[in-house]
């Protein structure tokens, strides 16, 4: 394995992030703080506790998940799309690097960035509402799995996109609505029975639910099911990436 190449890609991507670190961190921290102000303090103060957890605390895992998903996709898709756009991808394709090493480098860097942001969001949440973590190892596992899975999805979007519009299309039109409808701000038990069933087709429900369980021990679906669905989604992303590299889809002619 060309470990040197993985390190080079990883460092290069992280360096790109550090160049704009203030805006990379400030933007999600400010928007999350606003969520806490609006949903936690202004509106949330009128809500009753959900399963014994205050509303402000209840939304913390969902907000971290929301940020983790969107940032993983944004970082990974841009990371691979930009060299395609500028043409510098020629160097990666002509280097003695396997596809697996390319994925580890780019996806590893994207996942790292979103995990760091997730932890910053968690620290920010502590400033606003009481937060406790009942199952820290499970929390870290979900954090890692979700960051890796959605960074892989971002990588796929970055390869598929042939313009900046497409790069934004999937996150804006699919991921953000799915996240908002995935129980970030509510328990799906609060929905009518029909919509509860429909919601179960939303993969984000399982991520948010499992992640919330790691914090407060409460969940909409069983922890085991959440973990299984996360692995299924990870497997799907890996299968698509394997196909992309086997066929050279949008990378090689």
């Amino acid at each position: 394995m060309n470990v040197g190449a993985i390190k080079a890609i990883y460092r290069f991507e992280m360096a790109r992030w550090f160049r704009t670190v203030l805006q990379s961190i400030a933007s999600p921290v400010i928007s999350t703080s606003l969520y806490f102000v609006v949903f936690g303090a202004a509106i949330g103060s009128r809500f009753t506790d959900i399963d014994g957890v205050g509303y402000g605390s209840f939304i913390v895992p969902g907000l971290i998940m929301l940020m983790l998903l969107t940032q993983s996709i944004a970082n990974a898709s841009f990371g691979i799309y930009f060299p395609k756009f500028t043409g510098t991808i020629y160097e990666v394709l002509s280097a003695p690097v396997s596809y697996l090493e390319i994925v580890i480098g780019y996806v590893g860097a994207a996942a790292t960035k979103s995990i760091v942001l997730g932890l910053i969001i968690l620290a920010t949440a502590w400033l606003f509402v009481p937060v406790y973590i009942l199952h820290p190892f499970v929390m870290v596992l979900f954090l890692l799995l979700t960051a890796a899975t959605f960074s892989l999805l971002g990588f796929i979007i970055g390869i598929w996109a042939d313009g900046f519009e497409k790069l934004q299309l999937v996150p804006l039109l699919i991921i953000t609505p799915l996240t908002f409808l995935g129980g970030t701000f509510y328990s799906i038990g609060m929905l009518p029975p029909f919509w509860q069933k429909v919601t179960l087709f939303n993969p984000v429900v399982y991520l948010v639910s499992g992640f919330r369980w790691s914090f407060y021990g409460i969940s909409d679906v069983g922890f085991g099911v959440s973990l299984l669905m996360t692995f299924v989604f990870l497997g799907l992303c890996l299968a698509v990436i394997a196909w992309i590299f086997k066929t050279g889809y949008r990378l090689k002619t």
């Binding site: 040197g4 190449a5 160049r19 500028t86 510098t88 020629y90 394709l93 003695p96 690097v97 090689k252």
Partner: protein, 319 residues
């Protein structure tokens, strides 16, 4: 001697770009051996297949059929070993605009899995007159400087084989001379260099061997000197004292042409032949009472040979 690159019956057909479009065959059954340590110039008009050939060898484009072996390693089955030996300077100035020169060159070395070697990077940057720009972001550099950065990136992993795709396109005369000197220096150090160029003068100046590609087919590969001797014409011009209306009947056997408004007789001959016919011609000219005041000889340039080859190929004639 075993070739350092062996291209065997390589073909590449691009799929249609849109529904209803036609597939495009960019390479047709190309076979080529590159000798270790030589400078090989690949000439061809726009769209002839030069860049596609280079891109296949470097792993950027997947061939439709055929094989390429680099230093004994199949470029697809043993891509790590093959690519480890190859450096590429592409035609387009594709650089990371926001990175510094030092970082982007170091990144290239890392991508090839080589350990950090600041001393080597410094030497490369100094050789390319980039040392004082090492901390500059690439977007602040001129086009010529960016071209040097591309070369520095390719050299950073110490390739044995270097592909230069139009290395001097759009660079000024001084930089072109610098590039040529660099290429000669690299060759002296044992690097095999394959370059494509639109500047025939460049190939004439530097190449050991020439390959001409046209419409995806390699129509000729030859030592430059032999090519110029075989296909190059040598002409003797006789500058006349008095202008003629036509070539005199007494000189008809010499197949002369009349030029420069009748003040020049032009004789085409083979300089390698035992008898060039020059002595006999001059005797006949004197015998015909034609006075002349100067003689000049001219060898046709590689450019003239190239244009003639490509034109013949377009007309379906053999070179």
């Amino acid at each position: 001697m075993q070739p350092i690159i062996s291209v065997q019956q390589l073909s590449k057909t691009y799929a249609p770009r849109n529904a209803g479009g036609q597939p495009f065959q960019a390479l047709k059954d190309v076979s080529l051996d590159i000798r270790k340590g030589e400078i090989f110039a690949l000439l061809g008009p726009n769209g002839a297949g030069k860049t596609t050939l280079i891109s296949v060898i470097c792993g950027i484009v997947t061939p439709t059929s055929g094989a390429v072996v680099a230093d004994g390693f199949d470029i697809q089955k043993q891509f790590r070993q093959a690519r480890d030996r190859i450096g590429l300077v592409p035609q387009e100035l594709t650089t990371d605009q926001f990175e510094s020169v030092w970082n982007t060159v170091s990144f290239s070395r890392g991508l090839w899995g080589k350990p950090a070697n600041p001393a080597l990077i410094e030497k490369i940057l100094r050789d390319l007159s980039l040392w004082d720009k090492k901390d500059n972001r690439i977007r602040t550099l001129s086009g010529g400087m960016k071209r040097r950065v591309m070369i520095a990136k390719a050299l950073s992993h110490e390739p044995q084989i270097l592909f230069l795709d139009e290395p001097t396109a759009g660079v000024d005369v001084e930089l072109r001379q610098d590039m040529w000197n660099l290429v000669r220096k690299l060759r002296a150090e044992g690097t095999t260099i394959i370059l494509t160029t639109h500047y025939i003068q460049e190939a004439e100046e530097m190449a050991d061997r020439i390959g001409v590609i046209s419409k995806g087919s390699l129509i000729l590969v030859e030592d430059k000197a032999i090519l110029m001797r075989k296909l190059g014409k040598k002409q003797l011009s006789i500058h006349l004292h008095d202008a003629l209306d036509s070539v005199p009947e007494a000189l008809a056997t010499h197949k002369l042409t009349l030029g420069a408004n009748g003040t020049e007789l032009v004789f085409t001959y083979d300089s390698q032949a035992d008898r060039t016919g020059i002595t006999r011609l001059l005797q006949d000219v004197s015998a015909a009472g034609i006075r002349y005041n100067d003689l000049a000889t001219k060898q046709s340039s590689l450019e003239e040979i190239f244009v003639s080859l490509v034109r013949n190929d377009s007309n379906g004639a053999k070179p």
